[in-house]
């Protein structure tokens, strides 16, 4: 089975997802076990595949043994392998966490939730490892639809936001598909590697420019790049706490990965119209970073604040993309990793607080540090990372991004990044003040002082703490990651 690892990454969660309504009908406990096993197997396979990619070069896996460009291939190069590891890891972690929210539900709801969750995982994993632009679309749709379902299961307000998300997301997907159509029209191929070769002489064509713009807009909508982010805040705010950490953490990041894949690998950052497009992306991203950060300051709901902060952070990735140089690439990819982990962690914290107190408003967070010390500790790390305080992970992505910006002599981006971390500091320290410094009203205080139960069940606490630790570990040990994986991933890399 060793040589089938790339397929297993996606197939195993998919298989379990397909059976989960059936399994749930008989035993929800079995379903839980199977789901965890699937996520774990997927994670292990991803790690294995990444190891292979790092030691022996990119791994091409042909589905049905049809060689590309006729068949579909999976390509595990360092970048996609890394993304697969990230996605499957977070999926596993959040799946452990999910359990407490679902115990009270009926079998059908549990079955559907597990199915949708695993499908989301499979879809995102499929997007990361695929080497075929249309296959990417298919998995994009799998992940989007399951995300719609997951978000919509959060109550009435969630349905409205999910509906908006459906509309906007479908527009995004259509744009992407039209872009693929343009590429297909002028090259006749759908395979990424083949496209790269066949696009080389055509890069000055207008059709490529249009394709680029379409793909950019499509994926920009999906990743909530600034002016296209309208769906995100509501969707993140109202969705159920069991699913949102994974959606918020990973989904937009995978879309960003797709853009990176297109611009760095398929188009090539220096060719044709690409620099022009990238420059526009950069300006938009910079604007988005600032405006979204300002918006985040104005929020009173914790999750909504995180949502706007997500928009800003996605701007960082867009900025890294737009820089188009090695440091920009490293910064963008590293920020993808960081932001996935820390946003996931912060949403886990939000969910934990909700579980414990039923509150999402920041003003209700008073003295949360006493009620849930470990959770808030993880929150601190996440917040510091968002602000970019060394040695948490967020600092280092800023490090590489600014290096890239300086290299390209784009000082305005430096200013934007600096300004945004200060804005981040404003809204995160507001929460910190609330959680650590403000006194809770007396009535509430008595309640939680009496409360002798542990702050959260272990299944929720462990993921939170693990991710909190991850933020620190990734930050401190970023150099091996960068030198051994990201540089290998950089096209023409290994510098």
């Amino acid at each position: 089975m060793k040589e089938q690892l790339p397929a297993l990454i996606v197939i195993v969660p998919l298989l379990i997802a397909l059976l989960s309504p059936l399994v749930a009908y008989f035993s929800t406990r079995l379903l839980r076990g199977l789901g965890l096993t699937a996520a774990a197997v997927s994670f292990v396979s991803a790690v294995g595949a990444l190891g292979h990619a790092l030691t022996k070069g990119p791994w091409h896996y042909y589905f049905g043994n049809w060689a590309p460009p006729w068949g579909i291939e999976y390509v595990i190069d360092p970048l996609s392998g890394l993304m697969a590891v990230l996605v499957s890891f977070l999926s596993l972690v959040v799946l452990i966490y999910t359990d407490s929210f679902l115990r009270e539900e009926g079998w059908l709801k549990q079955g559907i939730h597990y199915a949708l969750y695993l499908l989301l995982t499979a879809g995102l994993l499929g997007m990361t490892v695929t080497g075929d632009v249309f296959n990417l679309y298919v998995f994009l749709e799998i992940s989007s639809l399951s995300a719609y379902g997951l978000i919509a299961s959060g109550g009435y307000k969630a349905t409205v936001s999910a509906f908006r998300y459906v509309l906007v997301g479908t527009v995004g997907a259509s744009f992407y598909l039209l872009g693929v159509g343009y590429l297909y029209a002028i090259t006749g191929s759908l395979n990424m590697a083949d496209l790269t070769v066949r696009l080389q002489p055509l890069l000055d064509s207008q059709a490529v420019l249009i394709a680029m713009v379409l793909i950019l807009v499509g994926m920009g909508i999906k990743m909530a790049l600034f002016p296209l982010h309208g769906w995100l805040p509501d969707a993140y705010t109202y969705s159920p706490p069991a699913a949102i950490p994974f959606i918020a953490g990973v989904m937009t990041k995978v879309m960003a990965y797709v853009l990176l894949r297109y611009f760095f690998f398929i188009f090539g950052v220096l060719n044709g119209f690409v620099p022009l497009v990238l420059e526009v992306v950069g300006w938009i991203a910079a604007l988005g970073i600032i405006l979204a950060s300002v918006m985040a300051i104005a929020q009173s709901d914790f999750r909504r604040m995180l949502a706007f902060s997500s928009v800003a952070q996605v701007g960082y990735i867009g900025l890294g993309l737009s820089l188009g140089n090695m440091f920009g690439f490293i910064g963008a990819v590293f920020h993808i990793i960081n932001h996935a982990i820390m946003k996931c962690c912060l949403f886990l914290v939000a969910g934990g607080v909700k579980w414990k107190t039923g509150e999402h408003l920041i003003e209700k967070y008073a003295e949360m540090s006493r009620r849930m010390p470990l959770t808030m500790g993880a929150f601190l790390l996440g917040a510091f990372s968002m602000v970019g305080i060394p040695p948490t992970a967020g600092f280092f992505s800023k490090w590489y991004l600014i290096l890239g910006a300086i290299e390209k002599d784009l000082w305005i981006y430096v200013v934007v990044i600096i300004l945004s971390s200060l804005l981040n500091a404003i809204y995160f320290f507001r929460v910190i003040e609330q959680a650590y410094l403000k006194k809770a009203p007396v009535a509430e205080r008595e309640k939680f002082v009496e409360d002798k139960k542990p702050e959260l069940p272990a299944t929720m606490l462990v993921p939170i703490v693990v991710l909190g630790a991850c933020i620190l570990v990734v930050g401190i040990l970023n150099e091996p990651l960068v030198s051994n994986i990201l540089l290998m991933a950089f096209p023409g890399g290994g510098l």
């Binding site: 249309f134 679309y137 298919v138 749709e141 639809l145 719609y148 379902g149 919509a152 009435y156 307000k157 349905t159 409205v160 999910a162 509906f163 459906v166 509309l167 906007v168 479908t170 527009v171 997907a173 259509s174 598909l177 039209l178 159509g181 297909y184 029209a185 759908l190």
Partner: protein, 121 residues
């Protein structure tokens, strides 16, 4: 003129249809209409792909005994892709209609302005 008509007019019509999607999405206030414009957009993409596969002298891509050679058949790949796209559009439609019903049940309206007003109450 004739070349223009035969070569690119269809693309233009298709792209017009495609842009109906964003237009409806932005300017139509009824959620069902938004859904429809979304669907129209998807159909436009399908048309676009199919238009790419056109070939003078090509017949439909189902084997005709005795007719061998790639030049005699239309490219089957876009058709395959678009089958998937159609299915996706149906799936999206089903989900979003389910969402709409839930919205209607809770808020009693599908007009966007009214909905926003009621949501904020």
């Amino acid at each position: 003129m004739r070349e223009l008509f035969t070569e690119h007019l269809i693309y233009w019509l298709i792209l017009f249809l495609f842009m109906l999607g964003p237009y409806g999405m932005i300017f139509k206030k009824n959620l069902v209409k938004k859904l429809m414009s979304m669907n129209i957009m998807q159909v436009a993409v399908i048309l676009f792909f199919l238009a790419l596969g056109q070939k003078t002298g090509g017949t439909i891509p189902i084997n005709l005994p005795g007719l061998i050679g790639a030049e005699h058949y239309i490219n089957p790949l876009p058709h395959t892709l678009m089958l998937t796209a159609i299915v996706v559009s149906l799936a999206t439609l089903g989900v979003s209609l389910g969402l709409l019903l839930t919205v209607q049940k809770r808020y009693g309206t599908l007009e966007e302005d009214e909905l926003l007003r009621r949501m904020n109450q």
